[in-house]
Protein backbone atom coordinates (compact mmCIF):
# COMPACT_ATOMS: atom_id res chain seq x y z
CA UNK A 1 0.00 0.00 0.00
CA UNK A 2 1.45 3.37 -1.01
CA UNK A 3 1.95 5.87 1.73
CA UNK A 4 0.70 9.44 1.89
CA UNK A 5 2.95 11.21 4.39
CA UNK A 6 1.37 14.62 3.78
CA UNK A 7 -1.93 13.31 5.17
CA UNK A 8 -0.15 12.09 8.29
CA UNK A 9 1.60 15.43 8.78
CA UNK A 10 -1.81 17.04 8.34
CA UNK A 11 -2.97 15.79 11.74
CA UNK A 12 0.08 17.26 13.49
CA UNK A 13 0.28 20.68 15.04
CA UNK A 14 2.93 22.98 13.57
CA UNK A 15 3.85 26.58 14.23
CA UNK A 16 5.27 27.36 10.85
CA UNK A 17 8.04 29.82 10.16
CA UNK A 18 6.82 31.00 6.76
CA UNK A 19 9.97 32.92 5.96
CA UNK A 20 13.03 31.12 7.21
CA UNK A 21 14.02 27.56 6.47
CA UNK A 22 15.98 26.02 9.34
CA UNK A 23 17.56 23.58 6.90
CA UNK A 24 19.55 24.67 3.88
CA UNK A 25 19.60 22.20 1.04
CA UNK A 26 21.91 22.00 -1.99
CA UNK A 27 19.37 21.25 -4.68
CA UNK A 28 22.12 21.07 -7.29
CA UNK A 29 24.10 18.44 -5.42
CA UNK A 30 25.68 16.36 -8.18
CA UNK A 31 25.57 12.86 -6.65
CA UNK A 32 22.15 11.42 -7.39
CA UNK A 33 22.59 8.40 -5.12
CA UNK A 34 23.24 10.73 -2.18
CA UNK A 35 20.04 12.61 -2.95
CA UNK A 36 18.09 9.36 -3.25
CA UNK A 37 19.17 8.34 0.25
CA UNK A 38 17.91 11.57 1.79
CA UNK A 39 14.65 11.31 -0.15
CA UNK A 40 14.03 7.81 1.25
CA UNK A 41 15.27 8.46 4.78
CA UNK A 42 13.28 11.59 5.73
CA UNK A 43 10.40 10.29 7.88
CA UNK A 44 8.30 13.27 6.84
CA UNK A 45 8.93 12.72 3.12
CA UNK A 46 9.96 16.35 2.67
CA UNK A 47 12.63 15.65 0.07
CA UNK A 48 11.22 14.72 -3.31
CA UNK A 49 12.28 14.49 -6.95
CA UNK A 50 10.09 15.48 -9.88
CA UNK A 51 10.07 13.64 -13.20
CA UNK A 52 13.03 15.70 -14.42
CA UNK A 53 15.07 14.68 -11.42
CA UNK A 54 14.88 18.12 -9.82
CA UNK A 55 15.12 18.02 -6.02
CA UNK A 56 12.41 19.71 -4.00
CA UNK A 57 12.62 20.28 -0.29
CA UNK A 58 9.82 21.58 1.90
CA UNK A 59 10.97 22.50 5.41
CA UNK A 60 7.38 23.02 6.58
CA UNK A 61 6.31 19.71 8.05
CA UNK A 62 9.77 18.97 9.42
CA UNK A 63 9.71 16.75 12.50
CA UNK A 64 13.17 18.03 13.51
CA UNK A 65 14.60 14.54 13.93
CA UNK A 66 18.02 15.27 12.38
CA UNK A 67 18.11 12.22 10.09
CA UNK A 68 19.05 14.26 7.00
CA UNK A 69 21.73 16.06 8.99
CA UNK A 70 23.33 12.82 10.13
CA UNK A 71 22.99 11.29 6.69
CA UNK A 72 24.11 14.11 4.46
CA UNK A 73 25.52 17.15 6.25
CA UNK A 74 28.11 18.75 4.02
CA UNK A 75 26.53 17.07 1.03
CA UNK A 76 22.83 17.50 0.24
CA UNK A 77 22.27 19.25 3.56
CA UNK A 78 24.28 22.49 3.63
CA UNK A 79 23.24 23.53 7.12
CA UNK A 80 20.85 22.29 9.79
CA UNK A 81 19.46 23.90 12.91
CA UNK A 82 16.30 23.65 14.93
CA UNK A 83 13.62 26.22 14.07
CA UNK A 84 13.65 29.33 16.24
CA UNK A 85 12.02 29.08 19.66
CA UNK A 86 8.22 28.49 19.66
CA UNK A 87 8.27 27.43 15.99
CA UNK A 88 8.16 24.08 14.23
CA UNK A 89 6.55 20.82 15.28
CA UNK A 90 4.55 20.82 18.50
CA UNK A 91 3.72 17.34 19.74
CA UNK A 92 0.48 17.29 21.67
CA UNK A 93 1.03 13.65 22.61
CA UNK A 94 4.58 12.75 21.60
Amino acid sequence: MAVNVADKLGVNKFHTDEHNSHIEVDKEYPDRSEIDKVVRACPAGLYSLDENGTLFFDYLGCLECGTCKVLSEGKVVKSWNYPSGTLGIEYRKG
Partner: protein, 387 residues
Protein backbone atom coordinates in the same frame (compact mmCIF):
# COMPACT_ATOMS: atom_id res chain seq x y z
CA UNK B 1 21.06 42.74 26.15
CA UNK B 2 19.88 41.65 29.53
CA UNK B 3 21.98 39.78 32.02
CA UNK B 4 20.72 37.46 34.70
CA UNK B 5 22.65 35.12 36.88
CA UNK B 6 21.68 31.65 38.12
CA UNK B 7 23.33 28.86 40.04
CA UNK B 8 22.50 26.51 37.19
CA UNK B 9 21.08 26.76 33.70
CA UNK B 10 19.71 23.62 32.07
CA UNK B 11 19.27 23.52 28.31
CA UNK B 12 16.41 21.25 27.29
CA UNK B 13 13.18 20.29 29.05
CA UNK B 14 13.13 16.54 28.45
CA UNK B 15 13.30 13.90 31.17
CA UNK B 16 16.99 14.39 31.95
CA UNK B 17 16.78 18.18 32.12
CA UNK B 18 13.53 18.26 34.05
CA UNK B 19 14.81 15.72 36.58
CA UNK B 20 17.88 17.86 37.19
CA UNK B 21 15.76 21.03 37.43
CA UNK B 22 13.32 19.42 39.87
CA UNK B 23 16.09 18.23 42.18
CA UNK B 24 18.30 21.34 42.01
CA UNK B 25 15.40 23.66 42.73
CA UNK B 26 14.41 21.35 45.58
CA UNK B 27 17.88 21.89 47.07
CA UNK B 28 17.33 25.62 46.92
CA UNK B 29 19.56 26.39 43.95
CA UNK B 30 18.53 29.18 41.60
CA UNK B 31 17.71 27.00 38.61
CA UNK B 32 16.69 28.05 35.12
CA UNK B 33 15.58 25.57 32.48
CA UNK B 34 15.37 26.78 28.88
CA UNK B 35 13.23 24.79 26.43
CA UNK B 36 12.82 25.62 22.73
CA UNK B 37 9.32 24.16 22.45
CA UNK B 38 6.27 26.02 23.74
CA UNK B 39 6.15 23.58 26.65
CA UNK B 40 8.23 20.71 27.93
CA UNK B 41 7.42 17.71 25.77
CA UNK B 42 6.47 19.72 22.69
CA UNK B 43 9.52 18.39 20.83
CA UNK B 44 9.78 15.02 22.52
CA UNK B 45 8.55 11.58 21.62
CA UNK B 46 9.17 8.00 22.63
CA UNK B 47 8.05 4.54 21.52
CA UNK B 48 7.69 3.90 24.35
CA UNK B 49 7.90 2.91 27.90
CA UNK B 50 9.47 4.33 31.00
CA UNK B 51 11.11 1.94 33.45
CA UNK B 52 10.20 3.31 36.85
CA UNK B 53 13.20 2.44 39.02
CA UNK B 54 15.30 5.55 38.40
CA UNK B 55 12.42 8.03 38.54
CA UNK B 56 11.21 6.34 41.72
CA UNK B 57 14.34 7.78 43.37
CA UNK B 58 13.38 11.27 42.20
CA UNK B 59 9.71 11.28 43.19
CA UNK B 60 8.89 8.17 45.25
CA UNK B 61 5.47 6.79 44.44
CA UNK B 62 5.18 9.02 41.35
CA UNK B 63 3.06 6.46 39.49
CA UNK B 64 0.09 7.37 41.70
CA UNK B 65 0.07 10.97 40.49
CA UNK B 66 1.97 11.18 37.24
CA UNK B 67 0.39 11.25 33.79
CA UNK B 68 1.15 7.67 32.81
CA UNK B 69 -0.62 5.47 30.27
CA UNK B 70 -0.63 1.75 31.14
CA UNK B 71 1.48 -0.43 33.43
CA UNK B 72 3.21 -3.01 31.24
CA UNK B 73 2.15 -6.52 32.24
CA UNK B 74 2.80 -8.40 29.02
CA UNK B 75 5.83 -8.51 26.77
CA UNK B 76 6.03 -9.83 23.25
CA UNK B 77 9.10 -10.31 21.12
CA UNK B 78 8.80 -11.19 17.45
CA UNK B 79 11.84 -12.46 15.54
CA UNK B 80 12.30 -14.53 12.38
CA UNK B 81 11.53 -17.58 14.53
CA UNK B 82 8.12 -16.33 15.58
CA UNK B 83 6.52 -14.49 18.47
CA UNK B 84 7.26 -15.14 22.13
CA UNK B 85 5.09 -13.83 24.91
CA UNK B 86 5.96 -13.62 28.57
CA UNK B 87 4.71 -11.80 31.63
CA UNK B 88 6.53 -8.61 32.61
CA UNK B 89 8.74 -8.94 35.65
CA UNK B 90 7.05 -5.89 37.13
CA UNK B 91 7.99 -5.02 40.69
CA UNK B 92 9.53 -8.49 41.20
CA UNK B 93 12.74 -7.30 39.50
CA UNK B 94 14.73 -4.20 40.52
CA UNK B 95 14.34 -2.67 37.06
CA UNK B 96 11.23 -4.50 36.01
CA UNK B 97 8.32 -2.15 36.48
CA UNK B 98 7.45 0.03 33.52
CA UNK B 99 4.66 2.19 32.15
CA UNK B 100 3.88 3.39 28.67
CA UNK B 101 4.10 7.17 28.44
CA UNK B 102 3.34 9.92 25.95
CA UNK B 103 6.04 12.53 26.30
CA UNK B 104 3.92 15.51 25.32
CA UNK B 105 1.82 14.63 28.36
CA UNK B 106 4.30 13.19 30.85
CA UNK B 107 6.98 15.86 30.37
CA UNK B 108 4.39 18.58 30.83
CA UNK B 109 3.39 17.01 34.15
CA UNK B 110 7.02 16.77 35.27
CA UNK B 111 7.65 20.38 34.25
CA UNK B 112 4.80 21.37 36.56
CA UNK B 113 6.45 19.45 39.40
CA UNK B 114 9.78 21.17 38.74
CA UNK B 115 8.10 24.58 38.77
CA UNK B 116 6.31 23.77 42.01
CA UNK B 117 9.71 22.89 43.44
CA UNK B 118 10.93 26.37 42.54
CA UNK B 119 12.62 25.87 39.19
CA UNK B 120 12.22 28.64 36.65
CA UNK B 121 11.15 27.35 33.26
CA UNK B 122 11.42 29.45 30.13
CA UNK B 123 9.79 27.86 27.10
CA UNK B 124 9.81 28.90 23.46
CA UNK B 125 13.47 29.94 23.60
CA UNK B 126 16.15 28.20 21.54
CA UNK B 127 19.62 28.34 23.04
CA UNK B 128 22.01 29.12 20.18
CA UNK B 129 25.35 29.05 21.89
CA UNK B 130 27.24 28.89 25.15
CA UNK B 131 29.19 31.67 26.78
CA UNK B 132 32.73 30.56 27.51
CA UNK B 133 35.48 32.49 29.26
CA UNK B 134 39.01 31.12 29.62
CA UNK B 135 37.70 27.70 28.65
CA UNK B 136 34.99 27.75 31.30
CA UNK B 137 31.34 27.60 30.32
CA UNK B 138 29.50 30.34 32.18
CA UNK B 139 26.17 30.82 30.47
CA UNK B 140 23.97 30.55 27.41
CA UNK B 141 23.12 32.74 24.45
CA UNK B 142 19.60 32.78 23.00
CA UNK B 143 19.11 35.32 20.22
CA UNK B 144 20.41 38.57 21.72
CA UNK B 145 19.80 37.42 25.28
CA UNK B 146 22.60 36.23 27.51
CA UNK B 147 22.08 34.38 30.76
CA UNK B 148 24.86 33.40 33.11
CA UNK B 149 25.29 30.64 35.67
CA UNK B 150 27.93 28.83 37.70
CA UNK B 151 27.21 25.70 35.73
CA UNK B 152 25.33 24.81 32.55
CA UNK B 153 23.78 21.37 32.06
CA UNK B 154 23.34 20.30 28.44
CA UNK B 155 20.17 18.24 28.13
CA UNK B 156 19.51 19.27 24.55
CA UNK B 157 18.78 15.85 23.16
CA UNK B 158 20.34 13.36 20.80
CA UNK B 159 21.53 15.92 18.26
CA UNK B 160 23.06 18.12 20.99
CA UNK B 161 24.34 20.83 18.72
CA UNK B 162 25.73 22.55 21.84
CA UNK B 163 27.90 19.61 22.93
CA UNK B 164 29.21 19.47 19.37
CA UNK B 165 29.95 23.20 19.34
CA UNK B 166 31.79 22.76 22.61
CA UNK B 167 33.94 20.06 21.04
CA UNK B 168 32.65 17.43 23.49
CA UNK B 169 31.50 15.16 20.69
CA UNK B 170 32.12 14.70 16.99
CA UNK B 171 29.29 14.88 14.46
CA UNK B 172 27.02 11.85 14.84
CA UNK B 173 27.93 8.87 12.66
CA UNK B 174 25.33 7.15 10.48
CA UNK B 175 25.88 3.87 12.33
CA UNK B 176 25.38 5.50 15.74
CA UNK B 177 21.73 6.48 15.51
CA UNK B 178 18.49 4.92 14.40
CA UNK B 179 15.60 6.96 13.09
CA UNK B 180 12.27 6.10 14.64
CA UNK B 181 8.96 6.96 12.99
CA UNK B 182 5.76 6.44 14.92
CA UNK B 183 2.03 6.74 14.53
CA UNK B 184 -0.21 7.23 17.49
CA UNK B 185 -3.47 5.48 16.66
CA UNK B 186 -6.59 6.23 18.65
CA UNK B 187 -8.69 3.26 19.75
CA UNK B 188 -11.15 3.04 22.60
CA UNK B 189 -9.97 1.68 25.93
CA UNK B 190 -12.35 -1.28 25.64
CA UNK B 191 -11.16 -2.23 22.17
CA UNK B 192 -7.54 -2.16 23.35
CA UNK B 193 -8.40 -4.28 26.39
CA UNK B 194 -10.13 -6.85 24.17
CA UNK B 195 -7.60 -6.99 21.36
CA UNK B 196 -4.62 -7.32 23.65
CA UNK B 197 -6.41 -9.28 26.36
CA UNK B 198 -5.47 -6.95 29.19
CA UNK B 199 -7.25 -5.05 31.95
CA UNK B 200 -7.94 -1.34 31.84
CA UNK B 201 -4.69 -0.14 33.34
CA UNK B 202 -2.59 -2.96 31.92
CA UNK B 203 -0.43 -2.65 28.86
CA UNK B 204 1.61 -4.54 26.31
CA UNK B 205 5.14 -3.84 25.05
CA UNK B 206 5.96 -5.56 21.77
CA UNK B 207 9.27 -5.49 19.92
CA UNK B 208 9.74 -6.79 16.38
CA UNK B 209 13.28 -7.69 15.42
CA UNK B 210 13.60 -7.32 11.65
CA UNK B 211 10.07 -6.41 10.57
CA UNK B 212 11.31 -5.22 7.16
CA UNK B 213 14.55 -5.59 5.20
CA UNK B 214 16.39 -3.01 7.28
CA UNK B 215 14.05 -2.01 10.10
CA UNK B 216 12.72 -3.15 13.45
CA UNK B 217 9.22 -2.49 14.70
CA UNK B 218 7.52 -1.70 17.98
CA UNK B 219 4.04 -1.48 19.41
CA UNK B 220 2.96 -0.20 22.81
CA UNK B 221 -0.52 0.16 24.19
CA UNK B 222 -1.53 3.42 25.84
CA UNK B 223 -4.81 4.20 27.64
CA UNK B 224 -6.87 4.89 24.55
CA UNK B 225 -4.28 4.75 21.81
CA UNK B 226 -1.60 2.48 20.41
CA UNK B 227 1.93 3.61 19.55
CA UNK B 228 3.18 1.77 16.49
CA UNK B 229 6.41 2.46 14.68
CA UNK B 230 9.63 1.38 13.04
CA UNK B 231 13.30 2.14 13.66
CA UNK B 232 16.15 1.95 11.17
CA UNK B 233 19.89 2.48 11.55
CA UNK B 234 20.42 5.64 9.49
CA UNK B 235 23.25 4.14 7.44
CA UNK B 236 21.01 1.26 6.36
CA UNK B 237 19.01 3.52 4.05
CA UNK B 238 21.60 2.59 1.41
CA UNK B 239 20.59 -1.08 1.71
CA UNK B 240 16.94 -0.67 0.80
CA UNK B 241 14.75 0.67 -1.98
CA UNK B 242 12.06 1.49 0.58
CA UNK B 243 11.48 4.84 2.23
CA UNK B 244 11.14 5.16 6.00
CA UNK B 245 7.45 6.20 5.79
CA UNK B 246 6.81 3.20 3.52
CA UNK B 247 8.49 0.87 6.04
CA UNK B 248 6.06 2.08 8.70
CA UNK B 249 3.11 1.71 6.34
CA UNK B 250 4.13 -1.85 5.46
CA UNK B 251 4.57 -2.72 9.13
CA UNK B 252 1.13 -1.35 10.00
CA UNK B 253 -0.41 -3.34 7.18
CA UNK B 254 1.30 -6.60 8.08
CA UNK B 255 -0.90 -9.58 8.93
CA UNK B 256 0.11 -9.49 12.59
CA UNK B 257 -0.49 -5.76 13.15
CA UNK B 258 -3.32 -4.69 10.84
CA UNK B 259 -6.15 -6.45 12.73
CA UNK B 260 -5.02 -4.86 15.99
CA UNK B 261 -5.27 -1.35 14.55
CA UNK B 262 -8.51 -1.85 12.62
CA UNK B 263 -10.88 1.11 12.91
CA UNK B 264 -8.20 3.22 14.63
CA UNK B 265 -7.69 6.87 13.83
CA UNK B 266 -4.34 8.60 13.41
CA UNK B 267 -3.83 11.09 16.24
CA UNK B 268 -0.23 12.11 15.63
CA UNK B 269 2.78 11.25 13.46
CA UNK B 270 6.22 11.72 14.96
CA UNK B 271 9.88 10.96 14.35
CA UNK B 272 13.10 11.15 16.33
CA UNK B 273 16.67 9.92 16.35
CA UNK B 274 17.70 7.36 18.96
CA UNK B 275 21.32 7.19 20.11
CA UNK B 276 22.28 3.54 19.68
CA UNK B 277 26.04 3.84 19.34
CA UNK B 278 26.52 2.30 22.79
CA UNK B 279 29.37 3.06 25.12
CA UNK B 280 31.67 4.29 22.35
CA UNK B 281 29.23 7.04 21.45
CA UNK B 282 29.27 8.63 24.91
CA UNK B 283 30.84 12.10 24.60
CA UNK B 284 32.99 13.95 27.07
CA UNK B 285 30.55 14.25 29.99
CA UNK B 286 31.88 17.20 31.97
CA UNK B 287 34.20 20.16 31.73
CA UNK B 288 34.74 23.50 33.40
CA UNK B 289 31.26 24.76 34.24
CA UNK B 290 29.38 22.18 32.17
CA UNK B 291 27.77 18.72 32.32
CA UNK B 292 26.11 16.63 29.61
CA UNK B 293 23.11 14.38 30.39
CA UNK B 294 20.43 12.19 28.81
CA UNK B 295 20.27 11.64 25.05
CA UNK B 296 22.79 14.46 24.60
CA UNK B 297 25.21 12.15 26.40
CA UNK B 298 24.04 9.23 24.20
CA UNK B 299 22.90 7.33 27.30
CA UNK B 300 20.64 4.80 25.66
CA UNK B 301 20.89 1.02 25.46
CA UNK B 302 19.14 -1.13 22.87
CA UNK B 303 18.79 -4.55 24.48
CA UNK B 304 16.87 -6.06 21.58
CA UNK B 305 13.98 -7.22 23.75
CA UNK B 306 13.63 -3.69 25.03
CA UNK B 307 15.07 -0.23 24.50
CA UNK B 308 16.18 1.79 27.48
CA UNK B 309 16.86 5.50 27.28
CA UNK B 310 14.45 7.33 29.53
CA UNK B 311 15.45 5.56 32.74
CA UNK B 312 19.10 6.31 31.94
CA UNK B 313 18.22 9.93 31.18
CA UNK B 314 16.48 10.32 34.52
CA UNK B 315 19.38 8.76 36.43
CA UNK B 316 21.90 10.98 34.64
CA UNK B 317 19.79 14.04 35.50
CA UNK B 318 19.65 12.99 39.14
CA UNK B 319 23.39 12.36 39.36
CA UNK B 320 24.17 15.64 37.60
CA UNK B 321 21.99 17.48 40.13
CA UNK B 322 23.74 15.70 42.98
CA UNK B 323 27.10 16.72 41.50
CA UNK B 324 26.08 20.35 41.11
CA UNK B 325 24.81 20.52 44.69
CA UNK B 326 28.19 19.21 45.91
CA UNK B 327 30.05 21.64 43.64
CA UNK B 328 27.99 24.51 45.06
CA UNK B 329 28.86 23.48 48.61
CA UNK B 330 32.55 23.34 47.69
CA UNK B 331 32.38 26.46 45.57
CA UNK B 332 34.17 24.57 42.82
CA UNK B 333 32.55 24.37 39.38
CA UNK B 334 35.74 23.47 37.56
CA UNK B 335 36.03 20.20 35.63
CA UNK B 336 37.70 18.79 38.71
CA UNK B 337 34.83 19.92 40.93
CA UNK B 338 32.29 18.32 38.56
CA UNK B 339 34.18 15.07 37.92
CA UNK B 340 32.02 13.32 40.51
CA UNK B 341 29.30 13.12 37.84
CA UNK B 342 31.23 10.64 35.73
CA UNK B 343 32.23 8.64 38.80
CA UNK B 344 28.60 8.53 39.94
CA UNK B 345 27.47 7.29 36.51
CA UNK B 346 30.09 4.53 36.70
CA UNK B 347 28.83 3.53 40.16
CA UNK B 348 25.18 3.60 39.09
CA UNK B 349 23.40 1.16 36.76
CA UNK B 350 23.94 3.54 33.83
CA UNK B 351 27.50 2.74 32.78
CA UNK B 352 27.23 -1.01 33.52
CA UNK B 353 24.10 -0.99 31.34
CA UNK B 354 25.96 0.86 28.56
CA UNK B 355 29.08 -1.29 28.79
CA UNK B 356 27.53 -4.63 29.55
CA UNK B 357 24.89 -4.84 26.86
CA UNK B 358 26.57 -7.68 24.94
CA UNK B 359 27.54 -9.84 27.91
CA UNK B 360 24.12 -9.46 29.45
CA UNK B 361 22.39 -10.25 26.18
CA UNK B 362 24.42 -13.43 25.77
CA UNK B 363 23.16 -14.53 29.18
CA UNK B 364 19.60 -13.61 28.26
CA UNK B 365 19.85 -15.65 25.05
CA UNK B 366 21.29 -18.66 26.88
CA UNK B 367 18.43 -18.53 29.35
CA UNK B 368 15.72 -18.50 26.71
CA UNK B 369 12.71 -16.24 26.91
CA UNK B 370 10.47 -18.02 29.38
CA UNK B 371 10.71 -15.08 31.75
CA UNK B 372 11.11 -11.37 31.25
CA UNK B 373 14.75 -11.00 30.08
CA UNK B 374 15.12 -7.86 32.17
CA UNK B 375 15.46 -10.14 35.21
CA UNK B 376 18.47 -11.99 33.78
CA UNK B 377 19.87 -8.79 32.32
CA UNK B 378 19.79 -6.97 35.66
CA UNK B 379 21.23 -9.97 37.49
CA UNK B 380 24.18 -10.41 35.13
CA UNK B 381 24.78 -6.66 35.08
CA UNK B 382 25.06 -6.59 38.86
CA UNK B 383 27.12 -9.77 39.15
CA UNK B 384 29.70 -8.80 36.56
CA UNK B 385 29.65 -5.07 37.35
CA UNK B 386 31.46 -4.55 34.09
CA UNK B 387 33.21 -1.31 34.64
Amino acid sequence: MSEERFDCIIVGGGLAGLTAAYLLAGEGLETLLVEKGNYSGAKNMTGGRLYCHSFEKVIPGFARNAELERRIVKERLTTAEGTMEYASAGVSAPEGESYTVLRGVFDKWLAGQAEENGAMLVCGVRVDDLISRDGKVCGVVAGDEEMEADVVILADGVNSLLAQKLGFKPPIGQSQVTVGAKELIGLSEDVINQRFNVGSDEGVAWMFSGCGDVCDGFLYTNKDSVSVGVTMMVEDIRNTENSVPQMLEDFKNSAEIAPLLKGGKLIEYSAHLIPEGGYDMIPKLYGDGVLVIGDAAALCANLGFTLRGMDLAVESGRLAAQTVVAAKENGDFSADGLSGYQAALEDSFVMPCMKGTEACLAAVKAGGFKDDPIVTFSKVMRETQIG
